[in-house]
Point group: D2
Chain length 377, copies 4
């Protein structure tokens, strides 16, 4: 693991996720830019001293040189460091699990995607919310035509935690997210809009044709957008609306997806992830519960408990980790990956996300509003 | 009453609304373009034969000439007839309650608003949803600063009943709504988008500076939009997103409003109208219930039952009617209207709605997307 | 109308309900035990002075003697006066609509039911909640076997408004409800438990075989129960649980019914009355919405607006009034009543409710707990 | 681990829970009464062959004799085996984590509780639902007086999975649960009623004074109750109502708790465990979210993610495991246990649960209904 040490949030989540299904052992890391703090953290987490590294460069070299070197690393650092770290490990022959957005710039994303192809190594991207079982079920429902041709996609991801200028009050998480150098060009649209955009595409299979966006910055002194409205035209004619916000008071982690087709609709909300509502044309809304026996195989592969025993965010994250493990093992064994790896987000998904953010910011920064085409879709 | 006879939907609602608070007697009408059917309907509704008219023109003349002529009429006909009917009665010295949208064209709306000013007569517009008590409370909360400066407004009005081409299968309600000559230029945006737009402005007090819109028609053969996405920039910097749809399977009458300010947010949904959720900055969401004693006077004036005894759509409609009655009586008495009439929608509100639809369709029909300014806001 | 004047709550509801469907005119009344206040109220409500009476006795005599005398009266007074008032009007040949509980004592209830039979006059009882359309639908679903044999009935009716001793602080509504002489033997169980008991029987068609009850009084100084727990054994083997409470903080008017059978279940909540949830055996819960075209005829007869346009408490009350009107007209015309009158609560339903309260209080007051059989079921 | 091998449900949950917080390593087990199957399971789960035992007796002896023997074992077997297994390990000096109900008979529960005291070993009982963070918060709210004196406790635990006679169709989980010899005297009341009873006592701190119960068996041929209604009188005057059911169609895992006091109320539902609703006297209901910074220390100790990132059943289970680990370590270190161990269920809690079931069945089997006092409270 790179980053994710003391005081980090997402690093802990990666560790829960890696442990849950007993598919990973955490054996090495460069946990902190401050090497001393990193070593202290390693010691507290049962890491052998010789595998707690001063830097990611040292770790890439060290682990590549060991017969028992790590199979895969997790990058849990601010966005601007994703690319150099991933590059170092891929070139050292080590697979990579990377936080989203894949990189801070589109150029880096293109380069990283190329490198993944060239090296043949695995690059998984933690679009967390695609790990939820009912999202897998929603995807299957669309794919098998339960909704008919898709007409309208509504996706939103509002948050409240940055509703005031906490980046000026010592909140490190908010500080790098509002710094264009560390975060990239997109504020809310890069941080959470990318999740929403991926989720909509993941479930519907639709690709964006063009977008039109209106970014706003409400908190005084903030350098990046903290609210984004985006109209989307998908290839084939479906229309989408995407809202991301870091200033939406009352919204803890309000990712929500609604898909309307010619024959039915579905609604899913991240804060109540264990069910989705499906309504057939002129029929009664039905609540489909995670864990039912009649769900698809790829859904079952992401379920641990029966209906009514809620699973949550950590389990969704663990589903990604287990999917990544399955993909890595299948490649090693020269076999097709199983259901657990179906649809897992990889480098190209990460590239699409960065291209979306780039198109949104381009659209907004242009003098006049215009339909803008993401470079990768 | 003009229109609203046998087989009509909204006419019956107007009658429920007029009766509920015992402020109106229905004593005359031209209930149907087919005079014979109109007279039959009148007879069944206890209307004296000499006050069941063959046409609105006959009624305007007849009632204007009676010492006990009607004080006010209700226009419950398709959009393209609103203007000539309203004109006839205003010129006959009779007040008017008119369905939305106020008229089918912007020119008519301007003319009608001018006529209302010139004649000094009352023109009420049935933006039904502004009659709900908790909408009044929401408006008061914004006005007194509970939410701080408004940043983001999300309003949506999705419906499912026109998800297929029912206008081709004999559904009269759908037929005129999809006929540009009878309905005006805006499909979903004119029929229900106007409600959503009014509601957002009513609660927040914000005026639109410019809009950018993407209209779509999903049902084959339909002449007008059945789905509209609109980004709004309000004067002063707030941003809005508006969605209207007639093809949103699973949505019965899904009008919903969310307002986010610097100090708090509120959420209200028309299908559960007896409560709203208010969340203060970093606080716990609270459910505010219609009927509580600590709500504002204008809310109390729209409440008939204590919390937990649900009121609904008919009561909201009745609140408009009682507000209109209060406005008419106050004018007659030369006094200020009371709380029941606070904020009731009148001709200028209707004009703003038509101007909004016009701007949306202009924006969409222009070759290139551009921020477009409604002519009245 | 008897009672229901200035300051009364339920009288106003009766008037809304009577007006809504245009089936009644309010033309006479004895609105207050204080005759002067009653006359003032009558004048403000457009009642002719000669039909505003000093007392119910005067009204019974006066109206019976007029050729245009009232067809039916509504009793909106405290419980202990129901019986003498109803008796006076029935004996004067005038039909009666009476608030629940039917009477304050079981003896009175028996006598009133006998009198209704003997005189052949109509006695309707305002078990308000049975007027909701989705309750009618629930009843039809059980009757046609959608749930299979009924196993378990859970009904509850919690309120918060009497959570403190407001009867000692000048609240007149609470004062008579906590006075055994005016209210009868049952506190919460008489006031609201009767509603819950009726609703459970109305929907399921089940009759109680025996009950076991635990009453409690939590507010210091209160003379009657303010919380009741009742276990019910229904004839045929189904089991029920009933909870009524006047001290349940957070519960505005929380009547809720859940019915579980061998083939399915249904859930309905009064505060969101426009839908019910039906779950078939091992199937997905479905939301059935009021106003759908595929509901039963008796449900349609109680619906005014399409799905998504909420109806509420006043509409439910109006459904009872319209059902009573249909029953009265059908009797006058010598025909079978239509769907609007199907299942409306009459004197015997009122008697059953009083018998239930009596059994509950008997059970509680007995030295030892024992299964107790209501005298009428 | 004893039991919990191939095909078992709860064993897998124990393993997820033990792994999540990195406090346990699974190193030995007797996973199956069929030793061969047990060994196969052990091999697949990375257990050294010499620590995969043929029987629990062999494992108690083997592990007690090793310097690196296990610290604690988890008992995941049917109820009737809990006592002999626990006894074997406690007498071998090994701590025990045991599924609920603690034992199949009251005599065994008394003996086991005595043995725990006598040996000074740790016995944790997996009353899973008490591991949820918001249950901890609810407990703290009651303890610090937010609700005032408790008046009414409503707890229910309905399930649907045994709504038909699946025990006759090869469902092993249902088979032992409906066999009095393997399960004990209580059907639904023993299996899930014990969870509900513990939860109510855990949150409120109340102890039962007496109970009155009505058990029913709805599925033909079933030997134990599958539905239980229980009225509870708590010491000090509060009243409770408990419902458990295995035949409640539509209910996946519907544990729900509502507590009403003189100053406020709270509502919590297991299927949406990340929030609770608190309503102060005559105030607005507030949604308190797991993860907020202003919650109590014992709640924080059970939280891994911020508000809006749902945690669920596995995390609740892991909280028990981490609490048990804290208790065991604190005892070894001779220090007070930290917040993670506050309130964790131990042998006496298990004994109380068995005593409750015993009282319920005694009450039901007595010829006449009577208030019955559990032997331990």
């Amino acid at each position: 693991m790179i980053g994710g040490g003391e005081g980090a949030y997402i690093g802990g989540i990666h560790r829960f996720a890696a442990r849950l299904d007993n598919q990973y052992d955490l054996v090495a890391g460069a946990f902190d830019v401050n090497a001393e703090r990193g070593h202290a953290f390693a010691a507290a987490n049962y890491i052998a001293p010789d595998r707690s590294y001063d830097s990611y460069q040292a770790m890439a070299a060290g682990e590549a040189g060991r017969p028992d070197g790590v199979d895969v690393i997790a990058i849990c650092t601010p966005n601007f460091t994703h690319y150099p770290i991933a590059k170092a490990f891929l070139e050292a022959g080590i697979d990579v699990i990377c936080e989203k957005p894949l990189t801070a710039t589109l150029g880096e994303a293109i380069a990283l995607n190329d490198l993944a192809e060239k090296t043949g190594r695995f690059v998984g991207v933690t679009y967390t919310y695609s790990g939820y079982p009912m999202i897998q079920e929603a995807r299957a429902m669309v794919a098998r035509g339960d909704l008919g041709e898709i007409r309208v996609v509504q996706v939103e991801y509002p948050l409240e935690w940055m509703a005031t200028g906490i980046e000026l009050e010592g909140n490190a998480q908010a500080a790098w997210r509002t710094d264009p150098k560390k975060n990239g060009r997109g504020g809310s649209i890069g941080d959470i809009g990318t999740h929403a955009y991926h989720l909509a595409g993941y479930v519907t299979g639709l690709k964006a044709e063009s977008i039109a966006a209106d970014l706003a910055t409400f908190v005084p002194g903030r350098a990046l957008d903290d609210n984004a409205h985006v109209m989307i035209r998908y290839q084939g004619g479906a229309r989408g609306l995407l809202w991301s916000s870091q200033v939406a008071i009352g919204q803890s982690n309000g990712l929500r997806l609604r898909v309307f087709g010619a024959k039915g609709s579905l609604v899913w909300s991240q804060e109540h992830p264990n069910e989705l509502t499906f309504t057939p044309l002129f029929g009664a809304p039905a609540t489909i519960k995670r864990g039912r026996e009649d769900l698809t195989e790829a859904t079952h592969a992401r379920v641990r408990t029966p209906p009514g025993h809620p699973e949550g965010y950590i389990e969704a994250f663990a589903n990604l980790y287990s999917g990544f493990a399955e993909a890595i093992r299948a490649r090693a064994a020269g076999r097709q990956p199983g259901a657990a790896a179906e649809g897992i987000p990889t480098a190209y998904d990460g590239l699409k996300g960065v291209a979306f953010v780039d198109a949104v910011v381009d659209c907004h920064e242009a003098g006049a509003l215009a339909w803008t085409t993401p470079k990768f879709a």
